[in-house]
Amino acid sequence: MDKLPRGRHGLDPAYVAARQRERLLVAVAELAAERGYPAVSVSAVCKCAAVSKGAFYRQFAGREECFALAFDNVLAALRERLLAACAGETLWARAVRAALLALLEWAGAEPPPARLLLVESLRAGRPMLDRYQAAVEGFAPLLARDAPREHPAAALELTDRAVCGGVASLLSRHLIAGEKDLRSLLPLLVEFVLTPYLGLAEARRVAGDGAGDGGG
């Protein structure tokens, strides 16, 4: 995030624009996490990113669009991270557990993007709320892939969505409370997510099975 040289510098305008865009997207996330989306102005985002207002409006139609694109970036990065985390697991329940651990580690290590995705997007107007809900539901097919379907609850499509919504809401509440040690939520989340598919007893067994995680 180095600043670009001022004045005449001979840099490729496309390069400059891309760097400015990147800085604006980071700035909107940081400011929204710091003061809440409703209190974030375009001027503040520009100041934080050291970009002129003219340059801002060449990139985005307004605050909403800037926030929405930052949201999409964060979402894409998180998705990749969760997929990578469970890629090595052959058992479905272990893969879910690994993804949940990655989610908690991400939210604990990067509060601004986590707040943007799970807290501020609910305060940023109707289109953004719809985007949030669709994003949360977008994780349902990932969860459902290879999930055991023997239990009646696991046979319901709404179960996948309710589980994803529950995880997002719970995490959001802990972020709002400003809790730092989110990893301690892992057993609870594993139990909650696995129960409809495996039954409470088996879900609890996987949740309590911390051995072989390399400390997590």
Partner: protein
């Protein structure tokens, strides 16, 4: 969407502080009732205005337009929009809690919020959508209510379910309700009761959940 409201019969606006008792004479006994009626109309007006444009885009003027009352009347009751929201939110939360408490058994209690959202989508949106924009006291109040309800769920079936899972389960149900509201499908929620009850079974056991046996094993 809003309950039918009778016109206020009183002439003019009541002064602040008149909440009960009766003032006889020119205006008649209906006058003190007007205060409570005004408040009810303002709360309903806020829900209606916010259902249309969302918290962030709603102004006191929108509440006035929806309720048909004047600005001085509004400020007789509330210090501002946030104050009015807090009251409307508390009112909706109170009704939801009452409805859930009146039901016996988790499976039956589940129908209460579904019916509430279907019957009063505007007021339900204050709980499911707008409270996240407002934050502050209403959000804390709602979180406390959710935790209390989760505690009751966790106490079912000899306390098999953990408090944390119960909270997450309720949050998951709330997510589905909020999604249905945004999708304009609130009226279809009561029909979801059997499937949602089935979702509760693994968490609460079949006795507490009272599952519906239709269509098991079929992905719907």
């Amino acid at each position: 969407m809003l309950p039918a409201m009778e016109r206020v019969t009183a002439v003019g606006e009541p002064s602040p502080g008149i909440r009960s008792g009766s003032i006889k004479g020119r205006i008649g006994a209906s006058y003190p009732l007007a205060y409570a009626d005004q408040r009810r109309r303002l709360l309903a007006g806020l829900a209606e205005a916010m259902a249309e444009r969302g918290y962030a885009e709603t102004s006191v003027a929108d509440v006035l337009a929806a309720s048909g009352l004047s600005r001085p009347t509004f400020y007789n009751h509330f210090s501002g929009l946030a104050d009015c929201f807090e009251a409307a939110h508390e009112d909706a939360l109170g009704e939801l809690i009452e409805r859930v408490a009146a039901a016996s058994g988790a499976g039956v209690a589940l129908r209460a919020p579904l019916a509430f959202v279907a019957e009063s989508p505007g007021r339900a949106a204050l709980l499911l959508i707008e409270v996240h924009v407002a934050g502050g006291l209403p959000l804390r109040r709602q979180d406390a209510a959710l935790r209390a309800l989760a505690k009751r769920l966790a106490a079912l079936e000899h306390g098999a379910l953990s408090q944390g899972s119960a909270e997450a389960l309720l949050a998951g149900l709330a997510f589905l309700l909020a999604r249905a509201l945004r999708a304009g499908e609130a009226d279809r929620l009561p029909a979801l009761a059997p499937r949602l009850t089935e979702l509760l079974v693994p968490y609460l056991g079949s006795t507490a959940s009272r599952p519906d046996s239709r269509g098991r094993g079929v992905r719907r």
